[in-house]
């Protein structure tokens, strides 16, 4: 038997112990969601805007205790700790600069990872190896290989993991996906994903800036190649630099491609061929594509297109089928014939996993040990499509992909681009 972790022990032994020892009248606070034995102790790694938003969500879920925060920017971690301490009326929140001090604690059950993308995989893997369940922001990983290792470690250590593709926990997306999965549009010929264009821009050249006091810049770079600090490199704008993220292809693509995968029933696979026609900045700090145009084809012939567009903050995915189309985004659910949207799913039909709180679903699954709505393996498949899209746009030639082997067919160059050597001392090993 492998090492038993705190939550496994509480899950298996807590009820029996309670029945044998506790008196017959027990306050609900002891056996309810707030009971220490059922309480989920959470640590947050990465407390920038997204991390604090997730932290706030976790604070609202019954039966959670936010115990610790970690960020390489002192300002961010102190802000996050302040939010937690204010909520609990104490000063108990632990603060760390190095994620390993958090992920290796015995009194943490679950870890939320909301760092920049190049820092998703390593804290998540370390947490899993130390018996923690994980909630990892999208896009799940920076490279395909990172995702493969994370999924393998999840299986090996039997951990629960949610990807932060929260659109699955939204009623409109659920309804659209369920209608499509149950054939209410007939056979689907294509899914068109449109995502926002880059919302930040940089000059053709840049200069080195002093590292702000309180930012551990070497730790911020982490596994990425060394480069001088400049103001636009780090917070938020990291996502437009391929050393740290995949641009809007992975930032927004991770949301809308995810809905396409869900509706089309390809959560365990993905398209088998890709073509990309992107444009990348030829100079300046930003390296991620400014124009995104990817065409991918599933084995059954269904086409998935991904394009970006200027001036829009939300994305959309439009499914075209034999009976017309359904178009879904965060702000609307439309159909070529609105009556399609009123059709009921047959009792014997496919009823997709239903969640109305992405964080709540994760916490519930930590308790029940069931896979959450955006299981890490699902998030890995979605992120793989995003990353292949970027590779296809860089190589500008058709690529064949084998989803079962997770490798390109007869393309050594593309296969080498599935991974990147990490800067020391970091490694995927």
């Amino acid at each position: 038997m492998g090492k038993m972790h705190r939550r496994d022990f509480l899950r298996l032994g807590g009820a029996a112990t309670a029945a044998a020892v506790f008196p017959s009248i027990i306050p609900s606070s002891v056996l309810g969601a707030e009971a220490p034995s059922k309480r989920i102790n959470i640590g947050v790694v990465g407390t920038g805007g997204m991390g604090r938003s997730l932290l706030n969500g976790a604070l609202k879920v019954n039966g959670t205790l936010l115990r610790a925060v970690c960020d390489v920017d002192r300002y961010h971690r102190e802000q996050a700790a302040g939010m937690i301490n204010k909520q609990y009326g104490n000063k108990d929140c632990l603060l760390f600069n190095d994620f390993r001090e958090l992920t290796r604690r015995d009194d943490i059950d679950a870890v939320i990872v909301a760092t920049p993308d190049h820092w998703h995989a390593l804290p998540a893997i370390d947490a899993v190896r130390h018996g923690k369940d994980i909630y990892v922001e999208k896009p799940l990983t920076l490279t395909i290989e990172e995702g493969r290792v994370l999924v393998a470690e999840m299986r090996k250590h039997k951990r629960i993991g949610q990807t932060g593709t929260q659109q699955r926990s939204s009623a409109g997306f659920h309804k659209a996906a369920e209608l499509i999965r149950n054939g209410h549009l007939g056979k689907i010929s294509r899914a068109e994903v449109k995502i926002p264009a880059n919302n930040k821009h940089c000059p053709a050249e840049w200069t080195e800036d002093p590292v702000p006091e309180g930012l551990d810049y070497d730790m911020w770079l982490g596994p990425a190649p060394w480069a001088p600090f400049t103001r636009q490199r780090t917070h938020y704008q990291f996502r437009f630099q391929l050393d740290y993220a995949g641009g809007q292809t992975t930032n927004w693509g991770a949301h809308y491609i995810d809905i396409a995968q869900w509706a089309l029933g390809h959560d365990e696979g993905g398209p088998v061929s890709y073509e990309g026609y992107g444009e990348f900045p030829s100079t300046g700090l930003f390296t991620a594509p400014t124009s995104i145009n990817v065409v991918a084809t599933y084995a059954d012939g269904t086409i998935l297109t991904v394009r970006n567009r200027e001036g829009v903050l939300d994305g959309t995915v439009r499914f075209h089928g034999e009976r017309g189309w359904i178009d879904v985004s965060r702000s609307r659910l439309l159909a070529s014939d609105p009556k399609i949207l009123d059709e009921k799913i047959a009792e014997t039909g496919v009823h997709l996993y239903k969640s109305r709180s992405h964080m709540g679903d994760f916490i519930e699954c930590v308790r029940t040990r069931k896979n959450p709505i955006s299981d890490i393996a699902i998030g890995h498949r979605t992120t793989t499509i995003c990353n292949i899209g970027n590779i296809a746009m860089q190589l500008r030639r058709p690529l064949q992909w084998d989803p079962s082997k997770e490798e390109f067919v007869n393309d050594a160059v593309a296969n080498r681009m599935r991974s990147r050597a990490m800067r020391a001392p970091w490694s995927l090993a």
């Binding site: 030829s282 995927l428 090993a429």
Partner: protein, 191 residues
């Protein structure tokens, strides 16, 4: 007429005083991106590096040996900047072969360039690459040794290094990060 023209030209105009016979050459001259990439600086104009990258990505497999030669010539230039080494090593990692070892191996043992060398070598298959990594292992110390161990582990192609890693793992004189890297590497190699 020619003299009148010259009088009107600015002193820094390359056509000033140019003979009509070589004016065409002046007009058609363009920098060679394979030479310009060597001068790349962090924060500077990287359009020549982008041109080189585009040529690498667009190359057919039969062109790889020639492309690799050009990348190695640039990387081996004594004036090659750190930013250029970074750019070139990544591209060697995409299309390179064991032919790169002579130029890349010296970068592996230097603290500033060790990661760049691994960006080139980690994806390149072959026993000769494994040999270079294994031979470098006892030469390195501290953080770059941990990095090298990680690359050996990720490649998973050299099982013969396990005994050396076992020794490092149990060597109390090694820093904790190096011993942890060896422990993780052994788990990966044996999985």
């Amino acid at each position: 007429m020619a003299n009148d023209d010259n009088a009107k030209r600015a002193d820094n105009d390359p056509l000033k005083n140019a003979q009509s016979s070589n004016r065409d050459a002046v007009f058609t001259w363009a920098p060679d991106p394979w030479e310009e990439v060597v001068k790349l600086e962090y924060g500077g104009d990287r359009s020549f590096a982008t041109t080189v990258q585009n040529m690498v990505f667009a190359a057919e497999p039969k062109e790889f040996p020639n492309i690799e030669k050009k990348l190695l010539k640039a990387l081996g230039n004594k004036n090659c900047t750190l930013a250029a080494q970074d750019c070139l090593c990544r591209l060697i990692g995409v299309v390179g072969s064991e032919a790169c070892l002579g130029v890349v191996e010296p970068l592996l043992v230097e603290e500033k360039t060790s990661h760049l060398a691994r960006l080139a070598l980690e994806p390149i298959p072959g026993a000769k690459v494994d040999d270079v990594l294994r031979v470098a292992l006892p030469k390195l110390k501290g953080v770059i040794k941990a990095g090298l161990i990680g690359t050996i582990a990720v490649r998973q192609s050299d099982k013969s290094v396990a005994a050396e890693l076992e020794k490092i793992k149990n060597d109390a004189s090694e820093p904790e990060m190096v011993r942890e890297a060896a422990t993780n590497a052994l788990n990966r190699i044996r999985s």
